[in-house]
């Protein structure tokens, strides 16, 4: 066992956990095939419904545990939008709360042993990020018309540097969906791969205790990262929404 891990490869590859495979049989994956991604996407949706709908069913004045967690999530996102995007941003509260609950549950369910992390795939985070990007761009043009382009023409800067700034602003605007999706997927891939690499070291007797402690430590860190990344995704959505609502600031 010990020699296996040193012979130019681990017994399992750290990236194997991200392979999309059909739930039933070993056939090819078509768009309608139920895969492990489908399963964990469904579980993510069910988990958020369970927390937000079933958890608050009691409507107790003194909330139980599920209700206080649901209220906390609701309050967090509500305050975040109000602080960053202002009162006008609250129109888009349902979408942003959905986004937050989806990402936080996808990240946390991915940490269940043997689970599949749906947010580790750029195909999924990319769709979320592109939805935010196109949504915000459409809101910006619908609310402000051509004044939305003021976002790229910084009036507070001297005239000579404005064209340079405009180029930088345009690039940073179009890199948003890329950075939003890759930040989430990259964090998830990196964290899970690191856990698997340490788990691979556990096969070598000499370093096994250190490896096991490292896995426990990384796991705790990953729980933190899962929540922080969902928070960051939501907060950046709010920042982009603010740019769309008040482009001249």
């Amino acid at each position: 066992m010990a020699t296996e891990a040193t012979g130019g490869g681990l017994e399992f590859h750290p990236m194997d956990q991200f392979v999309v495979s059909p739930l039933f049989g070993n056939g090819p994956v078509a768009w309608y095939t139920p895969t492990n991604v489908t399963l964990w996407l469904a579980l993510t949706a069910l988990a958020s419904i369970a927390l937000l709908v079933l958890g608050t069913r009691g409507r107790a004045i003194v909330p139980n545990r599920a209700q206080s967690v649901a209220e906390m999530a609701y309050g967090l996102v509500h305050k975040m939008i109000e602080d960053i995007a202002g009162k006008e941003g609250l129109r888009y509260f349902p979408y942003i709360l959905t986004l937050f609950m989806f990402v936080v549950f996808a990240n946390l369910l991915g940490l269940v042993p043997m689970a599949f992390t749906v947010t580790s795939h750029i195909a999924i985070t990319g769709v979320l990020a592109l939805a935010v990007f196109f949504g915000v761009t459409i809101i910006g043009f619908a609310k402000n018309g051509a004044h939305f382009l003021d976002l790229f023409w910084v009036r507070s800067a001297p005239l000579a540097v404005r064209p340079v700034l405009a180029v930088i602003e345009v690039i940073s605007y179009f890199v948003r969906p890329l950075s939003l999706s890759i930040r989430l997927a990259g964090n998830m891939i990196a964290g899970h791969a690191v856990i698997k690499v340490f788990a691979g070291f556990a096969a070598i007797a000499a370093v096994a205790p250190i490896a096991i402690v490292a896995v426990v430590g990384m796991y705790a860190f990953e729980v933190l990262v899962a929540i922080v990344q969902a928070y960051v995704f939501t907060i950046l959505t709010c920042v982009y929404l603010k740019d769309a609502l008040h482009p001249s600031h």
Partner: protein, 78 residues
């Protein structure tokens, strides 16, 4: 010792992307350290700025994640 030179360059490139990770670590540490320095001078204003802290950290971290992406592309896509 056999193997082709392209693979050698690929692995060296993957190793070099670790510099990107280190630079991102410096950036994120800088954000957190400066936030703490400011927060200790004026603790009453700190609570209102945690959102800014996370935004700053996210931007600093994003470029480190890009270098990780380059490493993944070199390892699995090239």
């Amino acid at each position: 010792m056999e193997g082709n030179i392209g693979e050698l360059g690929q692995y060296i490139g993957v190793g070099l992307t670790a510099f990107g990770m280190g630079m991102a670590a410096l950036g994120v540490g800088n954000v957190a350290g400066n936030f703490l320095a400011g927060a200790l001078r004026n603790p009453s204003a700190a609570a209102g700025q945690t959102a800014t802290l996370f935004i700053g950290m996210a931007f600093a971290e994003a470029l480190g994640i890009f270098s990780f992406l380059v490493a993944l592309l070199l390892m699995f896509a090239v």
